[in-house]
């Protein structure tokens, strides 16, 4: 391809966008809107996924020891727990710590404890964290066989519900993102089809004077890529603004909510949108052009 021809393509793309200003504006806005919706969804899905992972990691087993268990029994029980497959962390909670924790939770109502007198009803316990929460149900029976262990508890129903919820979040999110990406491709290819249709006369004249298909295709491809790129940049700007605003709101009201940090998350997200916007633009114009090149 000669320099002359490259100049021609760029000139043609520029003129085409300028000539069809309104159309180009409409196309870019449509692309920006579609990608913004796609981006918002991705943002939600990725955060939901992150939240699911966070919640899963919070699941732990509480192992309550028998009241009679003391000294050596506790040490060997702790050792046995640490050796169980999948266990990553074991921390002990003594009877007095348990009482303290309970007092803290009661807050202003700690007077209630006076009814207990000097008795400490809390058992010695271990908090056990595992590498994969899916394992919990499997290893609990083993834990209960360790000498000195009274019982091992985990929120069985809570955990199972949560797994269900996170599975739905992940699969549903993926399906929705794919659906939106396809919808975006369809919208862009349709918009470009209108641009190509408006210029079908030009395309047919190009065919009559002996232009090759690739020669005809290039300016349209560039135009589609330009529209996809510009739309994606606009969508990204809005998306970043929206995320930062949301983040601010959440930090001030729901501080414990594990929202993903803006960097590098937003960087990857905008990069992804810009690359897919450009590719979708190119794919959209190729799809639309196929029909018009058969002259």
């Amino acid at each position: 391809m000669s320099l002359n021809t490259k100049k021609y393509f760029i000139k043609e793309t520029y003129h085409s966008i300028k000539r069809n200003q309104l159309m180009s504006f409409a196309s870019i806005s449509t692309v920006a809107l579609s990608l913004l919706v796609l981006g918002l969804f991705l943002m939600m899905v990725i955060n939901a996924n992150n939240l699911a992972g966070y919640l899963e990691s919070q699941v732990q087993i509480t192992v309550y020891m028998e009241d009679s268990a003391k000294g050596n029994t506790l040490t060997s029980a702790e050792k046995a727990l640490k050796e169980m497959p999948g266990v990553v962390k074991v921390s002990s909670v003594t009877k007095s710590q348990a009482l303290e924790n309970f007092k803290k939770r009661l807050g202003d109502q700690k007077d209630l404890l006076e009814a207990l007198g000097t008795e400490n009803p809390f058992p010695y316990s271990f908090d056990v964290q595992v590498d994969n929460p899916q394992r919990i149900a499997q290893i609990v029976p083993g834990i209960e066989k360790i000498p000195g262990v009274e019982t091992a508890k985990f929120g069985r129903e809570v955990v199972e519900h949560m797994f269900q919820l996170t599975r739905i979040l992940r699969i549903g999110g993926l399906v929705l993102v794919i659906f939106l990406a396809v919808a975006t491709l369809f919208i862009i290819s349709n918009t470009i089809r209108i641009t190509v249709f408006a210029r079908r006369r030009e395309v047919s004249i190009m065919k009559y004077v002996g232009a090759t298909n690739w020669f005809i295709r290039w300016p349209f491809l560039l135009e589609g890529m330009f529209m996809g790129f510009t739309g994606a940049v606009i969508a990204s700007v809005f998306l970043v603004q929206i995320y930062l605003t949301l983040q601010n709101k959440i930090y001030t009201t729901l501080a414990f909510f594990p929202l993903l940090g803006s960097w590098p998350f937003l960087g990857y997200l905008t990069l992804f949108l810009i690359i897919s916007g450009t590719l979708i633009g190119a794919a959209g114009s190729s799809i639309s052009l196929r029909k018009f090149l058969d002259v």
Binding site: N4, I205, K207, Y208, V209, G210, A211
Partner: protein, 230 residues
């Protein structure tokens, strides 16, 4: 220059437009193709630049078997042809100069060559002073001259014109025909489908008459031979 042997064309609808056509046209000839509407003239013209394909038979343009060309070779066939339509088919958002230069740009001619050649052909069709006008600012005859300039700017071997004077008054048609005559004098072969009785009778060139898909006449110094339809 052009040889057709055993050409037939039946459309998918079942309509037969051409039946067993044999034609040989020598380089430098000026040939009119005449006949009633729907006789097969347009089909004949469209076969030449492979807009459509024949059902049977072979077509050779300058020794090249047109039917054996792969789709990506068709553009190179068309670069040797200059095609002119009744409705001019100009780009209305480009100037006269740009419309003509367009035909050179799309075959990737160097810029210096375009700058030199376009004014030459505009001069030839008498539109040098109209270079910066848009088609909408020109008369029908002038628009057709732009189309002719575009068709010949790449020095085609063969100019194919489909009813080039169909939308023009007799006086303007005569001017257009003079330009074709001039191009033909420079050695370019011309094939023209027409309904223009006055012109055909005046020019005294080879006339091929097609009726109902058959060649019914082929005279070296022919006449139109039909009553004018309009």
């Amino acid at each position: 220059m052009l040889t057709m042997t055993g050409i037939s064309k039946t459309y998918q609808s079942g309509a037969t437009a051409l039946r067993n056509i044999d034609i040989h046209i020598k380089p430098g000839e000026f040939v009119f193709v005449v006949g009633p509407s729907g006789a097969g003239k347009s089909t004949f013209i469209k076969l030449l630049f492979r807009e459509i394909e024949p059902t049977t038979g072979k077509i050779f343009v300058d020794g090249v078997d047109v039917m054996s060309l792969k789709p990506n070779e068709i553009p190179y066939l068309r670069r040797q042809l200059g095609i002119i339509f009744q409705d001019y088919r100009l780009l209305n958002d480009r100037t006269v100069y740009e419309n003509v230069a367009f035909a050179m740009e799309v075959i990737e001619a160097p810029m210096e060559k375009i700058k030199k050649r376009v004014p030459e052909v505009l001069e030839l069709v008498g539109l040098r002073s109209r270079a910066d006008n848009y088609p909408g600012e020109l008369s029908g005859g002038e628009q057709q001259r732009v189309a002719i300039a575009r068709a010949i700017v790449n020095d085609p071997l063969l100019v194919i014109a489909d009813e080039p004077t169909g939308n023009l008054d007799p006086e303007t048609s005569m001017e257009i025909m003079k330009i074709f005559s001039h191009i033909n004098d420079n050695g370019t072969t011309i094939i023209m489908a027409t309904h223009d009785k006055t012109m055909v009778d005046f020019m005294q060139k080879r006339v091929i008459a097609i009726e109902d898909g058959y060649i019914v006449r082929d005279d070296l110094k022919g006449v139109y031979g039909y009553e004018p339809e309009h």
